[in-house]
Symmetry: C2
Subunit: 696 residues, 2 copies
């Protein structure tokens, strides 16, 4: 599916995962690996990595493995700045010996063996894997092991036996609502490889754009894309690039709804009268294909045939979500057809359509994937259900014998913290009570990057680093689930992903510079401080709170477009408050650190306001800046009150809580993240100085 | 020329330009333009730049102008994140009307008209220029005018009449000592366009590498480059890319010295016995071509002919610098030839060689450019002298009738602050007293990026933003020379250059991450704080202070490789101290800001030391970190003493000065930049509390 802004999603509550300080300390991992391997045994000593480091390949040989080893050496060089020999050898004395047993499938298959064993000792390392897929995963693990040490770069001695928990570990990128250029797709494939994801689900058609060159029906992309589409050669390039990284590419052509852009060039497919224009707004629209028109199936037969040749994967995604049925209701011909063929309602009509399309996909040698809606009575059992509805729907499908993947809970665009995604397991909730063979039908999951509010500049930051936490959920053993330990590793992998060319960190200062315009260092620092502590509003509230109806032409140059979806500084402040409270507010050093931050916030607004007078884009957050100052002052007052060791008066408390209430309101579509933690300090002060311990 | 580490340069003193606070305020420019135009008249109001903004071209038409307008629209979109129509039109109602009068030269010539007039009013803008060169410069000026304003993006109403002071405004990049990949070259050409530089001098051969594909003599690049060379097609691509940006490309093949890499494949050219290997060390070496061997001229005739066809520019650089003559002295055949032909000494032998080469260059239709050494008696007057020796040598050449360009004072690798480069004028010093017609022979200058200590990761930061200050020196009227105003504009242009893809800001955090390895936010922040306040040692001291002899294989992953060559934070601290002292140390707010920084420095080391225990690369700067702490403590003690209003005791003063003396010493090849400013505070405290005013 796609988006349920108007139908669903508003009721979702944000559950902040509370991180107890005990967990932070106890489960801190020794190795900064994401995803955590299935089994890790520490050895003693470490393997030095210097410019004499070499790699050799043995066993099964294919060009893809050579390229993987060369890529590994390039990445290791980026990571260390050491000059390595650029080519792997066959030398049996190489530092890292790689043994691949046999070839993988010509077209990468779900459930292929992806396991590997990596043994690192002080004198060398060996990586063995049954297939190139395991080899590639093992190389990424090795890269994550290498760090600067007291003696230089080194990898700790360790034995890792690893394999994935789920065979389908995907990232979906919507290239249709906003076009995402090729180089952005490719660097995100690099990121996927780094965290061992193996399915790139490419959402290629939407109301807002048809993004693939069709040689059979060129009006689809010529009139349906504003010239922003991928040529067939470019797509083949992406597929080869992905295969080189152990990643399958599953294309999605969403139908019968989400298809306005098709109708610009081919109005005859639609259920309404037309003419149609490329949709510029967001939401769910009426336009839908006409399931009663044989011309529709003729064109789709040819088009699916054309696309099936370009995309080698065994799976083909037909979308199928969110048809509101209005065009069907309004079309007398369709109504007459339904009556004549005893199709009782729109659900049945869509089921009829899905059945027909499913046969076309099978005819062209592929297996259907579709969103929940495609699961209707009579549909063949080999289709794969991608569930945006949730674990219950997925479990229900599995019980009925369908394979499925979970995406509910993994929508990156909703702005959830990594810990919240991380807490969601494809086989939990309703799925936990499935029989073992039913559980096996749950193939894994996919994170989804819907593209209403992303463009090439900020899209990486909307995917990373949070997507690495989801990748770990899909790969690592189910027991791996401590959020504090995950965050420690996430911070680290986030820095590494930058070496692959991802821009999820570097874009931010550039966007803030644009927002600030000419500014003194102090003014810019004040904007940075504020921006570091806010997050965009969550879930589907962004449309509703927008100053004007957003469209695909709305500039993405505001603070809400620039800030990361999860505030590191806000999280760290919350952790600090938790630690301080756990010390019964007696830890002087922690108190001092809190005070320094709060003073900084209190005084920040005075630095920012002159800039707000000069820049419209800063002016938008001027009230947020005042709220941050007020939060700083409230926090300082709470620390002062705590220091007195006596309960602060009720009048004081309600005064402070009123300030915090203001700070908690969204403004400029931004949430001020430290507000709840400051509230905790105020509550503690009111309760009498000796803070209650943080909740477990 | 190249480098004089052993022969010269050690005597150069670093002159810190003192910035008086009065200058900072008085000359702050209203517009953030670099380079400052020849004439600016402010209008009233401003031109709104929103998504309805359009561009139209009129007058002379050529594809290069269309591409320039499209590039302008792309850059404007990057700068504003507004969605513009991607193509210029012919509409007479466009927001920006561009009128180009006539074509430029087919091969861009020195002295072509580069002027333009840009008029911006509240209702529209017009840009008129005689040639496409002026048009392109005017477009860059317009881009710099656009900023976020209280009402959104806008350009202030203004009339600009602009033209360059010098016709030769170059940047030399040494791609030979370290290979610089194509995309790095291209993004630096984008940077050059932004600051109106018009000559890319490409240093393509050295002891350490021959970087151009030669089809006639393939052993040159095959054996002389470690496989790191530019193909002829790639070079043609760079030349076209540069021409599109109004930039000439002047190739340099350095001979008869600096040529070891040639001899790996062609030892018969050398004066020594060989065999030769690609040089891995830095410095001046003995290897030199044999001026007495006719085979040398035969090969060079063919090679220059081949290269002259690839590089269309009228000028061809033959290097000619730094031949130590040892191979000539040691070769009896050469000695015999000299005797037979009455060649008195090595200078005369080099003059003979230069004369022969000069004739070959002329034969292939080009004009010779060479470093100072090529200027010997009898050399024809049309050669151009590039002076690494200085203004006196340049003036002397001009007196003799030679044209010249200045590079002495513009060596980016020496690590000078922008203000020091900025203070150097091609027509000052000895050149100031030249007759007008002699002055005209000084065509301009070139900044030089020698590549001993740069690689693709940090090279942008070694060139930018300082190169923009040099570009202003070459373009703007001679009277434009206030360093404080320059710095204010430089900070701003620096942010803009990032939108062009330059990485001079973004590389830094990535390199620090590698140095830190796994680290807590506090530890990483401590490393960042320290790194922001240090600069690499200056001039030619880097070789001498290196922990081991540096070579082209030395990893560039240390703090000295990561930090910018000019510390913004250090400069800002110095400005703050100057302001505080100018207030007779009575400004409480300034004192508070100083105190906050000094406390931060004092406490920084405690955060950094645990990281130094874990990372070898941090450990290297652990002593520097202690020095920074000590500086912080000394500065705080000075502020305390100043607050007492009485002269601090002599014993106290000498104690503090001893600390500062330590901090002033280079360690880990790094200078701690705030040391002199803290010293000023200590002196002020010792002098009795009421500080002396900062020197004018």
């Amino acid at each position: 599916m796609a988006r349920k802004p108007r139908l669903q999603g508003l009721g979702i509550l944000i559950l902040f995962v509370s991180l107890s300080p005990a967990m932070i300390v106890a489960q801190q991992p020794a190795l900064n690996l994401i995803p955590i391997p299935a089994s890790v045994q520490a050895g003693s000593g470490s393997l030095r990595v210097d410019s004499s480091f070499t790699v050799a390949l043995a066993g099964h040989s294919e060009p893809r493995l050579d390229r993987a080893a060369e890529r590994f050496l390039r990445q290791l060089a980026l990571q260390t700045a050491l000059p390595f020999s650029p080519k792997p050898g066959k030398n049996s004395k190489a530092t890292l010996m790689i043994q691949t047993e046999h070839a993988g499938k010509e077209i990468q298959e779900i459930g292929e063996d992806e396991s590997y064993v990596l043994e690192v000792s002080a004198t060398g390392a060996t990586l063995t894997a049954p297939t190139p897929l395991g080899t590639m995963h093992g190389l990424q693990t090795f890269l994550q092991l290498v760090n600067v040490s007291p003696d230089g770069f080194a990898a700790p001695a360790v034995t890792i036996q690893d394999k994935p928990r789920f065979p389908w570990r995907g990232l979906m990128i919507d290239s249709a609502r906003h076009f995402i250029p090729l180089e952005v797709i490719k660097r995100n494939l690099d990121g996927m490889e780094a965290v061992k994801m193996n399915v790139f689900h490419w959402h290629l058609s939407e109301n807002q754009g048809f993004r693939v060159e069709s040689r059979k029906f060129p009006k689809l992309h010529e009139l349906g894309s504003d010239g922003l589409y991928y040529t067939q050669d470019e797509i083949r390039g992406v597929i080869a690039y992905a295969r080189d990284r152990g990643i399958r590419v599953v294309p999605e052509f969403d139908m019968p709804g989400h298809s306005t852009a098709w109708f610009v060039g081919h109005p005859e497919l639609a259920s309404g009268k037309g003419p149609y224009q490329i949709e510029r707004r967001w939401g769910i629209f009426d336009a839908a294909m006409d399931p009663t028109n044989e011309k529709v199936y003729k064109l789709l037969d040819d088009l699916i045939g054309e696309m099936a040749k370009i995309f080698p994967d065994h799976f083909f995604h037909i979308g199928g979500d969110e048809v509101n049925g209005k065009e069907w209701d309004a079309n007398p011909k369709i109504q007459a057809y339904m009556k004549a063929h005893e199709i009782k309602n729109n659900d049945a009509l869509q089921a009829y359509f899905s059945g027909r399309i499913q046969k076309l996909v099978v005819k062209h040698g592929k297996i259907v994937v579709g969103w929940d809606e495609v699961l209707v009575p009579g549909v063949p059992k080999d289709i794969v259900i991608q569930s945006w509805r949730g674990q219950a729907a997925l479990a229900q499908a599995a019980k009925q014998g369908f394979r499925g993947i979970l995406s509910n809970g993994y929508y990156l665009d909703l702005g959830w913290p990594a810990a919240r995604h991380y807490a969601i397991d494809p086989v939990s909730g309703a799925a936990a009570s499935l029989a073992p063979e039913e559980k096996l039908r749950i193939l894994g999951g996919e994170s989804c990057m819907w593209a209403e509010y992303v463009n090439p500049e900020n899209v990486d930051s909307r995917i990373w680093p949070r997507n690495a936490a989801i990748a770990e959920r899909f790969w690592s053993p189910q027991e791996v689930r401590d959020p504090a330990a995950m965050y420690a590793r996430l911070d680290f992998i986030s820095a590494r992903l930058e070496w692959l060319g991802l821009t999820h960190k570097t874009y931010y200062r550039k966007m803030l510079r644009r927002i600030a315009g000419p500014s003194s260092p102090g003014e810019f620092a004040a904007l940075h401080t504020l921006s570091d502590l806010v997050e965009p509003v969550k879930d589907y509230t962004r449309e509703q709170t927008a100053p004007a109806e957003p469209t695909s032409a709305t500039p993405m140059n505001r603070v809400v477009d620039a800030v990361p979806l999860e505030s590191d500084a806000g999280r760290h402040f919350g952790e600090l408050v938790d630690l301080y409270m756990a010390s019964s507010c007696r830890d002087v050093a922690l108190g001092g650190r809190l005070r320094a931050q709060l003073v900084h916030w209190r005084d920040n607004d005075a630095q920012l306001q002159p800039l707000a007078q000069r820049s419209l884009l800063v002016k938008e957050v001027a009230a947020r800046s005042q709220d941050l100052s007020a939060l700083g002052a409230a926090g300082l007052a709470a620390l002062d009150a705590i220091a007195k060791g006596q309960p602060a008066p009720d009048s004081w408390k309600s005064q402070q809580l009123a300030v915090i209430e203001q700070a908690k309101k969204p403004k400029a579509q931004l949430l001020l993240i430290p507000a709840p933690s400051v509230e905790n300090l105020v509550e503690a002060a009111a309760a009498g100085g000796a803070c209650f311990a943080a909740k477990p």
